[in-house]
Amino acid sequence: MSPSQRNGLEFVLDNLVWFMLLAVLAIFSLTIPNYFQPGIFANIVEQSSVLGVMSIGLALVIIAGHMDLSVESVAALSAMATGILFATSGIGLGITLTPGWLVVPVSLLLGLCVGAVIGLINGFLVVKIKMNAFIVTLSSFIWVRGMVVALSGGRSAQGLADEIRWLGIQRFLGIPVTAYIAILCFVGFSFMMAKTRFGRHLLMIGGNEVAAFRAGIKVEKVLMIAFVLSGAIAALAGWLLAIRTSGATANLGTGMLFNAFAAVVIGGVSLKGGLGALPGVYAGVLLLSSINTAINLMGLPAHYTQVIHGLLVLAAVLLDTLKQSIRKKLA
């Protein structure tokens, strides 16, 4: 194989998920009436916003060789906190701030703090106490959702202040503002992963924690930051969820963890850690949203969404194995 052929093959392997996305979009556009139109693509990007943001935090922890199952519940808690404080009906306290726009940064900051604190607890237990990340974050997944139910008493908080709702419903160039927020997050964190020492350290720790430690990397500090970031980013996802649905119910975000996982794996992040890039994760999110939209337009029963997501994850893992095998042969 010539060097140019080898480079071409490596490029395809690195960006496989983007090719899959293009193929899926092309097939759907040709086969589903109404699919090929700007509005549908805007919807796909919009649907990707909450899931996409949640997937970023999850991907960071997985790249570092660990796991964070709490992201879905953290998102729900952040959404509920926003709802309880700033919604006007149901259990919403309807707190008003002067000037009114302050409600946006204040609610966002509050949500981020809630997420960061839970991330800190997860990180402390995993990094300092050396508990298994799977078990710790599974526990957080349960107790945090329990807190959402306890705080809300099962009731909903609806009718967010107009200043927040504006962000949830407003579009710019036909694309919802929430989608821009998600894209900005992907750009920012992709830059962080590719261009900063923290990003490189995260990849090295995920590849080989002992070697990273011996290389002088402050493993514990980097991992703690990863968990805190994961919690804060999940909280941002929850905040977006609240503004998109104009409030919060106790079951908000249910099932998103599995979709975020699917997106991360499809996006090429290795569950063993040390491998993966956030643009690929975004492509994975877009792929899932494209399929969801196709299912909605075709009128297929929603049961098939889960079937297709499950099969996609399986296919992604299979492809990952094949990619590694091809890379070994290339090397």
Partner: protein, 348 residues
């Protein structure tokens, strides 16, 4: 003199509390367990408060166990509660059929079982209090008929029906009733999509997509009010104004009433939560005493309700109501969160 007064006061307090205690003991007819399917929606949490209030009025203590939408957990709870031998078990089943053997086991142990809100017809129980989920579908269909006539001049158009979780018999029953009655109108196209796990943002996504695939939608009918909230957010995001597309849903949650007041929602089909709970309390003495419950009409919080003798046992059906802008402030609707002030009395 002062000491005597103090002693007299203390004696009076002791006597008073003793009398109260005796009175309470006389009213305490025993423990009743309520097995609620989930506490993640307002109807269910409302049902806990309502049952607690009404059962206390007729002398029973209510303990609630949450099954968190898990069938196996609710089966275990049934087994545990049977071992505690309460006066009765009130069951709102996660899964209608899977809980039937547990109902049989409880009754075999001499514990009466009351089906609340979710009717189990595959086995016999001691009492069933329902609004009738199929009937909610009927009421919704009547309202769709009215709204389409109002909007298009005839019963024709397109309805987007948003179900709850496709694994939940509650929503499937509403769909059954709704589509059964809508079959009489061939000029109405019904586009149906389920919302996995009743999660609101999924409903918003469906509405966004369907506005592009079916821009001529006349009515969006979702099977729970919180789904309509997300649907309305998607309508707003698409630049729609209140009334451009009619919105209706079912269960009567407070948020739905707010949306009616805001003009975004035209109709909410109420599940008469207070009356359903009151009916259980009204008949509880008879159920516990295993007395026959006579079929016929009964007044339950002002609603004429019918007890019929079904093959699965005596069943009371409380009529659901359509809430519109005209009657939205009626305090009888549970969504207004004003429980009835007058205590209920047991049926003699």
């Amino acid at each position: 003199m002062r000491k005597q007064l103090i002693a007299f006061g203390m004696a009076a307090m002791v006597a008073s509390s003793a009398v109260t205690g005796i009175a309470y003991a006389q009213d305490d007819k025993g423990a009743v367990y309520y097995l609620v399917p989930t506490l993640l929606d307002e109807f269910q949490t409302g049902s806990v408060s309502a049952l607690e209030m009404f059962l206390e009025q007729v002398g029973y203590d209510l303990t609630t166990l949450n099954a968190d939408n898990k069938t196996d957990l609710q089966q275990s709870q049934m087994n545990d509660v049977i071992a505690l031998a309460p006066k009765a078990i009130i069951l709102a089943a996660v899964d209608f059929n899977a809980l039937a053997p547990s109902v049989d086991a409880a009754r075999a142990a001499g514990i009466p079982v009351i089906e609340f809100d979710r009717q189990i017809s595959s086995t016999v129980s001691d009492f069933t209090s329902v609004a009738g989920t199929v009937e909610i579908g009927y009421v919704a269909a009547d309202e769709v008929e009215r709204l389409l006539t109002e909007k298009n001049g005839s019963v024709s158009g397109k309805v987007l029906q948003i179900l709850g979780d496709p694994g939940d018999p509650y929503t499937l029953d509403i769909q059954k009733g709704f589509e059964e009655k809508m079959a009489a109108f061939p000029d109405v196209t019904i586009v149906t999509h389920p919302v996995l796990m009743w999660e609101a943002s999924n409903a918003g996504t469906i509405v966004s997509d369907q506005l592009l695939a079916n821009p001529d939608i006349d009515i969006i009918f979702s099977h729970a009010a919180h789904l309509s909230v997300a649907a309305v957010a998607s309508l707003e995001s698409a630049g729609k104004q209140p009334g451009d597309i009619y919105v209706m849903s079912s269960n009567g949650a407070p948020v739905a009433l707010e949306m009616i007041r805001d003009g975004w929602m035209q109709v909410e089909v109420e599940q008469p939560l207070y009356a359903q709970a009151a009916a259980v309390a009204m008949f509880m003495d008879k159920i516990v005493a295993k007395e026959t419950i006579e079929p016929g009409e009964y007044d339950v919080l002002g609603l004429t309700s019918v007890v019929s003798d079904e093959e699965w046992g005596p069943t009371i059906k409380i009529p659901g109501a359509a809430i519109t802008a005209e009657n939205v402030d009626n305090p009888a609707f549970w969504g207004n969160l004003q429980p009835p002030a007058d205590p209920i009395t047991s049926v003699e």
